[in-house]
Subunit: 380 residues, 2 copies
């Protein structure tokens, strides 16, 4: 705070840069109205930013100048590890996706193999898009497990035994020689839905990802909430039934053991054989009574958790993502029913439960978003 005047100028410069980055491109007049600054100030600041190479100015008819964020060169990569898949997307800085691919993948392997697979898939995508490896400027990496936000090291050895203690961002960064930011897959899904999807513009949101496991992430005042030590949102391991089935986290009756995709798969195996979550959802949509029942039961268990969440946090919106979310109303209606019954009325009235709009791409898109706007999260 050496000089509050220059600090003020800095603030306003940042304000304008942010506004430009968010809106894509606008004229100075629009900028002035949106920021509340006077046209004169906008004029001088825009010139400064142009001289600094932070924005680009193009003529747009009349005196209108179109201010756009500087055409960021280079590409970014999003990597999304699921329990049973690995998805990678190659995108421009503007988030336009150039190439994307998902492959089946078993998270049970050790970290080195997993990261090697990601590296191979990235290089494959580069080749397909005809892009040189050096074009990649940054990578966003999503993982289905707890990550210490201070160190970036994965914790909780019981959940992903092959990954505990490793620093995936550093590892992958060393392999590719670019900066890598890492985050929980549910956090990234929430980020994607908040940026482009069902939670766009909402402030108090809970996001639940129901894939093989169950993860969650919380947006408070529009920002990712991480809690005191960065593990907020582990809704998959709250206890629903103290005497329930053993969970991979070591406890009994976690939500995940009742509503996770793995459980559903196990439940239909005797009658339907080995299926994937997506196949199970397909069958349910096709009218299969057993699958519908299994999904509805999962919804009811999820409803118990969402009701607790509503009582505790009183969110305005709950977004359901992950493979099971594709069941749509088959899953969401039971959730709502249970929430209506178990949550206190004022919290139940306040909340809407919807399916995510980005589907299975949420994680990888969130990874792309995370690379660009690392500061959407709460300060911590």
């Amino acid at each position: 705070m050496a000089n509050s005047l220059t600090a003020l100028r800095e603030t306003n410069r940042r304000l304008i840069t942010e506004t430009v980055r968010k809106s894509g491109s606008l004229t100075q007049a629009q900028l002035a109205r949106q920021t509340g600054l006077s046209p004169a100030t906008v004029s001088t600041i825009v010139r400064e930013l142009r001289d600094a190479g932070l924005v680009e100015i193009s003529q747009a008819g009349g005196r209108r100048h179109l201010i756009s964020p500087v055409r960021e060169t280079g590409l970014v990569v999003g990597v999304d590890f699921g329990h049973s898949h690995l998805r990678v997307a190659l995108a421009e800085r503007s988030h336009r996706v150039l190439a994307e691919e998902a492959i089946p993948f078993d998270m049970g392997v050790r970290a080195p193999e997993g990261l090697a697979a990601a590296e191979r898939l990235i290089i494959d995508l580069l080749g397909r898009a005809g892009v040189d490896r050096a074009e990649i400027k940054a990578v966003g990496l999503g993982l289905p497990g707890p990550i210490d936000p201070q160190t970036g090291i994965m914790g909780s050895s019981t959940i992903l035994p092959g990954w505990a203690g490793v620093d995936p961002a550093a590892e992958l960064g060393r392999r590719l020689d670019v900066p890598v930011v890492v985050d929980n897959d549910a956090n990234l899904g929430a980020l994607a839905e908040a940026t482009w999807g069902a939670a766009k513009g909402r402030r108090e949101v809970a996001y639940m990802k129901i894939g093989t496991g169950v993860g969650a992430s919380i947006l408070i005042d529009g920002r990712l909430y991480r809690g005191a030590t960065g593990t907020a949102g582990e809704l998959g391991h709250i206890t629903i039934d103290e005497n329930g089935r053993l969970c991979r986290c070591g406890n009994r009756g976690c939500l995940e053991t009742l509503a996770g995709g793995q459980q559903l798969i196990d439940l239909v195996r005797p009658t339907h054989g080995q299926v994937t979550v997506s196949r199970l959802v397909e069958l349910a949509h096709g009218g299969d009574i057993g699958c519908r029942r299994v999904i509805a039961d999962a919804g009811r268990h999820l409803g118990v958790a969402v009701a607790s969440l509503c009582n505790i946090l009183n969110p305005g919106l709950v977004v359901i993502g992950g493979a099971l979310a594709e069941a749509g109303p088959l899953l969401i209606e039971p959730i709502m029913t249970v929430v209506g019954r178990l949550a206190i009325p004022s919290a139940a009235h306040a909340v809407t439960v919807v399916k995510g709009e980005l589907g299975e791409r949420a994680g990888v898109l969130g990874a792309l978003a995370r690379v660009q706007s690392p500061n959407i999260e709460s300060a911590l």
Copy 2:
């Protein structure tokens, strides 16, 4: 943001006012060092504040001027309704308590009777302190039920039937002819513990009040978190046992039906006769096995809820207040044990569970705090 320059000045003025209010009284030089502003700026702003009557200046030897917050005149009252008691405190603006009293009280009565009782107790206290009624400038009011933060009207007719639909702040304000701010008793307890008690200076805190019922309140980034519609923290009515006992909220197996004081009283009635929660805690401290067991069981049930809370929010501190908290380790150790078992390890390691420091006075002190600093809460 009409004029950013004047906005800047406003910010700095506020910065100085806050610093003065916090530190009690200091010199201009100290002020300059603490705020990072130049002595010149401090000088002019202090003069402005003096002229506006917001601070007082006294000579303190040499050129030293002692800047102190203006001696606030008048008194404030805190009112805390519990399920079974009513507590009122009369205090100076500086929070020095002049008189305080608690009486047994049944929240089952209708709102007018309750507010009349509060009024009588306030007038009683005024007489005892020898203070005129006109000295009261504001009242803080705590109630053990959900309050719509927009309208101030009490909701959820099932929980406090005699109070649903009334606007207690307006009612009491009309009776006493002073402004009244109203809030949930758990929120006020949290506020008090955060201001003077066990949570002083902590940022991520959950407060649980276990009296006749069970309430909770959440501090996020040091501010009261209210959620989308103001009912965040209703932890007493999360479902622990879907097939459990009926709760006054209309559901089954709420935490409150398992760990609320009322349940404990009911449990020991066959063997110990009708007792209060405080008496039950006394007996437990005296070595009564039955009471100890009942409290430990309640602790285990609370532990399930706290574990969920930890998984969802990952707080750094959980403060236990209310009458049952006086059981101390008899209650808290079972909580910690269950949290250690059910919460994910990283969240369990992060959290400390402690007894509140303010005891049964937490609510009424919080009401006093709330009158003075209504802006501690999140913006919403």
